[in-house]
């Protein structure tokens, strides 16, 4: 499912809204989630999962083309952990 398919499904689910609203809503939600992570704030959606940042310490990497050393600075990367409901629904075989 792509973003535009998601928007289409949401506008079917919300027929009283104009189509543009579903599109704007999806963009606004994703934007708010990205901004939240970028400011170091975690996201916690009950039944879906949580997004946090993981720390990556600085390291010496290699340019694979030249073999030269490059220092890679410390950074944070986004991490997602599925919540209980999502985990159980996706793993249909193990449901009970």
């Amino acid at each position: 499912m792509t973003k535009s398919e998601l928007i289409a499904k949401l506008s079917v689910r919300h027929p009283h809204l104009v189509a543009k609203d579903a599109e704007l809503a999806v963009k606004t939600i994703l934007d708010a989630m990205a901004t939240s992570l970028a400011s170091g704030q975690r996201i916690e959606i009950r039944g879906f999962g949580s997004f946090t940042l993981n720390y990556r310490p600085p390291r010496v990497g290699r340019n694979p083309k030249t073999g030269g050393k490059v220092s890679v600075p410390a950074k944070h990367v986004p991490h997602f952990k599925a919540g209980k409901e999502l985990r159980e629904r996706v793993d249909g075989n193990n449901k009970d």
Partner: protein
Amino acid sequence: MTLTKAELAEILFEQVGLNKREAKDMVESFFEEIRFALESGDGVKLSGFGNFELRDKPQRPGRNPKTGEEIPITARRVVTFHASQKLKSLVSETYAGNNA
């Protein structure tokens, strides 16, 4: 501070102009549609944000860490998330050394 569904609904109310009820329903169905796609075996690609993918993991031997008893970890399907390049660079640039 944590971003939750309640905050997302508030943002939709303020920025999109949905009423409180619509905003709450929209946030709920946004996550439900993603869950439903994943439950149906369909990955979800949200360009500019990231992809939710499904992985089928085979059974592997495990251990009860308390008793040391060996128990198999059954085969299962799990969700993985891969942040887009855009989200990764947004995070590493904006949140660079803040908390290192």
